[in-house]
Symmetry: none
Subunit: 539 residues, 2 copies
């Protein structure tokens, strides 16, 4: 939009280093290699792999990559400046970073005088020497150097002249990139812009043609992405961040938002457009490997990022998507979702049917019947937003296309607690092909007992149920204010090891609600395995 | 920092309206009332309560508030402009908003020509009439009007002159606030700033002294907070957003980040500083009521927002917190967490004890013991944020001040479903003053049966339990990924008709978890009625 057409912005990913500082993330070498390959496929030009001096595991990561190199990305090793009062050549940390064998290294140094005197407990002069000598030594060993100016913005605000001297030291020693780091994440976009502008003006002539600038931001003020953009608008050419914004405390600048903002809205070139379409899948892959639930609210790549509710709204978005969507979801590999909600209008239902590959027309009486049924069920407390498998079963039922796979006769559940023991047992009765089956099972709670009993009852007729298992279980009390007499809505997610689908049950009795959801989960799983059927995958 | 000292920014919360559009959030009237009271305690001046015309449930919310009004906040009813081709006085939606009986109403209208012709399918002139006549009619009925200019930024970019005409119509009809809405969330901060500046310059003289401007942003570009700040820096005086940033798609501007940025960094006045210290607790309360896991990475209020790892770093942060923290965590009611250290917990426990009026000192061995117990229970899945009655019982237990009111021997619960019937029966055995009591009851679910049986068993010895009832019941699966074998945390709120208190139970068995929470609810209720005791009210 702003016509900065085609200017290149170099994306520098630090998911494997700064990202893995996040609480709750712990990546094995194998995990790191898999993520590095995905980032390479996405077309990220710089991938920071780790800090070999601080983390011995990281050395192996670089060695493994030497055997099976990436296609095009530069893998970068990260390290601090040498220790105070030592020669660079004698610092074991720098030997480790050299042994990583990368062409590029990133060295971070102190910009803020207070961190030099209080943190490192050395002199301001020694810090300048540490920056200069470390970079000069690595250059003499054939490395290309990116210099990360730690605590840049705070340092500049407290002692501007000293902060600039640290950059001078890095330039003189031969750093090719200077990266402004908002390490504590406290700076707001207008301050980022002002400081970047002032410093780049001041250094402009000193570094020569080849000197370039970068930005590294943290999300403590919830402005990390805006801060990166503000710096780019001032002329910075490298953006450092992480996939999904993972990182220490509140995380780093989220590349999944920074990249599409820069490329799709401001016309910068970050990634090949075809590769940008892998962004959503890369985000979900990284959260999968990091073993964190993907954030459904995440901008651009989240499950809800292009979800639409409400009747008029839905027909409008279908006529002209730009009226309700800031970008085309396909540009980042995401897609539009029509959410089935209380206000479900006819157009919602039709759009949903199309998603499932079900042929349904507006004038079809079935459509009105379905809408009626849907409203009744929503009044009873059903919600199909997150239970698309149940919605498809309902749709098939109204259309007369829901085969009777089994007939339920009932269940009994028994929970017992006495001194030092708890029990949960369940018995179910099911009729399949005219035969009555009675089975019982126990579990560590009434719901797992019920699930086990149901699968035991069905497995003889449908051996595939032995592959099914529950992958998620959620409970919502619909009107909390009536206490335990309130209705309960249970959402169950099932899997056959490959796909996942979600179902819903509602009852004043939590066991009964769970039972309904589990039964529909089994039924949907069996239906979707009939080879001739076209069924939707919800995960 | 920037010296805009003490200029007032009016915070407008729309958690109850726009926030509840988020996927997965469904608030009962009782939930909405509880949230409204918390926002009022926080000192939010405008609280948008709902859209009475679109959602009949919302009308009851406003009626309930008439009976028990808030202390100081203005509750605002929300509505669109009248329908095309109708008189304002004949539009039933506007009758609904009037029946809400609020002093302030917010009317949203179309700014973007495309939405008028394609969405509303009416003429550009009629849209101007709809805006003007709706506002004029509501003014004539004694209401004060905030005008939300929907799709403002997109509309302005596409047809600047028409967009400004819509504002002119609102001004002429008597709107006191004009709010620029970035409805699709696609605009970046520098564009927000530029457009706000241009429009306010252009309208400056037209509205007179009393006309004020506001900003309403969405997070689709991950810049909602930065966008709100950019508008404020241009002179806007109202910020609309939601607690925790909940809202449709990627959410609204997160007030939990916008407020501390504006107040602590830019020197604007949003809330009383003492009330700002309730921000973290309000955030967690709202996520609890919304039944969503609080985001530990959330800026300012998240559990990880001020978490520090590593030795040197930790001693540095303790010597001089400003070197590693962008604000003081206490300013927003959060606290520094030193990961793998007891320090943080200790002060928490002491603060908690002080809250309950319990005299506990740092060097008291009880304090260390309590901390140990607390950590064990948190590892098992207990959480006391929203269950302060259970926390107080735990504290009394460690201090040897938890009297044995009754002893539980066990329970049996039986659920049955057959053709056309469901049953839920519970039997409990309790010992009181040496006597064994066995009682049974039925309910419309296993938990209400259990609750009834327990009260039946205790009522002879403690007649007051007949006044007790459950007012809320919430279930959270702690580790969703292990399906129905995961642990369940149950939160129960009890009342004696005057006060309310909350308790917690954890088990892999949902019935057992409910049982623990109900039992503690009864125990706490009996304890708090001993006249000599000072006990805390949690709701």
């Amino acid at each position: 939009m702003s016509g900065q057409s085609s200017k290149r912005i170099w994306i520098y990913d630090t998911t494997l280093r700064d990202g893995s500082q996040a609480e709750g993330i712990s990546l094995s070498i194998e995990d790191k290699l898999r993520i590095a390959r995905r980032l390479d496929e996405l077309g990220i030009p710089f991938i920071e792999g780790g800090w070999p001096g601080a983390n011995p595991k990281d050395v192996q990561f670089f060695w493994r990559l030497k055997d099976e190199p990436l296609q095009q990305a530069q893998v970068v090793a990260f390290c601090s400046t040498r220790r105070p009062g030592k020669k660079a050549a004698d610092d074991p940390m720098l030997q480790e970073i050299l042994s990583a064998g990368t062409e590029w290294v990133t060295i971070f140094g102190k910009s803020w005088d207070l961190h030099v005197t209080e943190g490192l407990q050395t002199s301001l002069e020694e810090n300048l020497a540490m920056i200069g000598e470390t970079i000069a030594y690595l250059k003499s060993c054939g490395r290309r150097v990116i210099y990360d100016a730690e605590h840049w913005f705070d340092g500049y605000r407290h002692n501007r002249d000293y902060a600039v001297q640290t950059l001078d030291a890095a330039i003189a020693a031969g750093a090719e990139w200077l990266v402004f780091c908002d390490t504590n994440g406290g700076t707001l976009p207008h301050e980022i812009a002002r400081i970047c502008r002032e410093v780049m003006d001041r250094l402009g002539d000193r570094g020569g043609e080849d000197l370039k600038f970068g930005i590294h931001t943290h999300n403590d003020s919830e402005t990390a992405v805006a801060n990166a953009i503000a710096a780019v608008l001032e002329g910075v050419e490298m953006v450092q961040g992480t996939i999904d914004g993972y990182g220490e405390r509140c995380g780093n600048a989220n590349l999944c938002s920074a990249i599409p903002n820069l490329q799709l809205k401001l016309g910068y070139h970050c990634l090949d457009p075809q590769r940008l379409q892998k962004l959503t899948e890369t985000s979900r892959f990284v959260s999968e490997i990091a073993n964190l639930a993907p954030d459904s609210r995440a901008p651009f790549v989240g499950l809800s990022a292009f979800a639409h509710k409400g009747g008029i709204h839905v027909s409008a978005v279908q006529r002209n998507p730009l009226t309700y969507e800031h970008i085309s979801p396909e540009a980042v590999g995401n897609h539009r979702r029509i959410v089935i909600s209380e206000q479900a209008g006819m157009s919602n239902v039709l759009a949903k049917a199309r998603n499932f590959g079900i042929d349904l027309h507006k004038n079809d009486p079935t459509c009105r019947q379905l809408l009626q049924k849907l409203k009744e069920m929503e009044n009873e407390g059903y919600q199909f937003e997150a239970a698309e498998a149940s919605f498809e079963l309902l749709m098939r039922e109204v259309m007369g296309d829901r085969p009777d796979l089994f007939e339920l006769q009932g269940f009994k559940v028994h929970c017992d607690r006495g001194p030092g023991m708890t029990h949960a047992w369940a018995t179910v009765k099911v009729t399949v092909e005219g035969q009555n089956i009675l089975e019982a099972a126990e579990g560590n709670g009434p719901v797992s007992a019920l699930d086990a009993a149901l699968r035991k009852a069905l497995v003889t007729f449908y051996p595939r149920v032995s592959d099914f298992h529950l992958t998620d279980y959620k409970v919502r009390i619909i009107d909390g204010s009536s206490g335990t007499s309130a209705k309960t809505r249970v959402l169950v997610e099932s899997s056959n090891g490959v796909d996942r689908w979600s179902t819903v049950g509602v009852s004043t009795n939590i066991i009964d609600a769970s039972y309904q959801a589990i039964v529909e989960g089994l039924e949907y799983g069996l239906l979707r395995q009939r080879p001739s059927e076209k069924v939707a995958v919800t995960a």
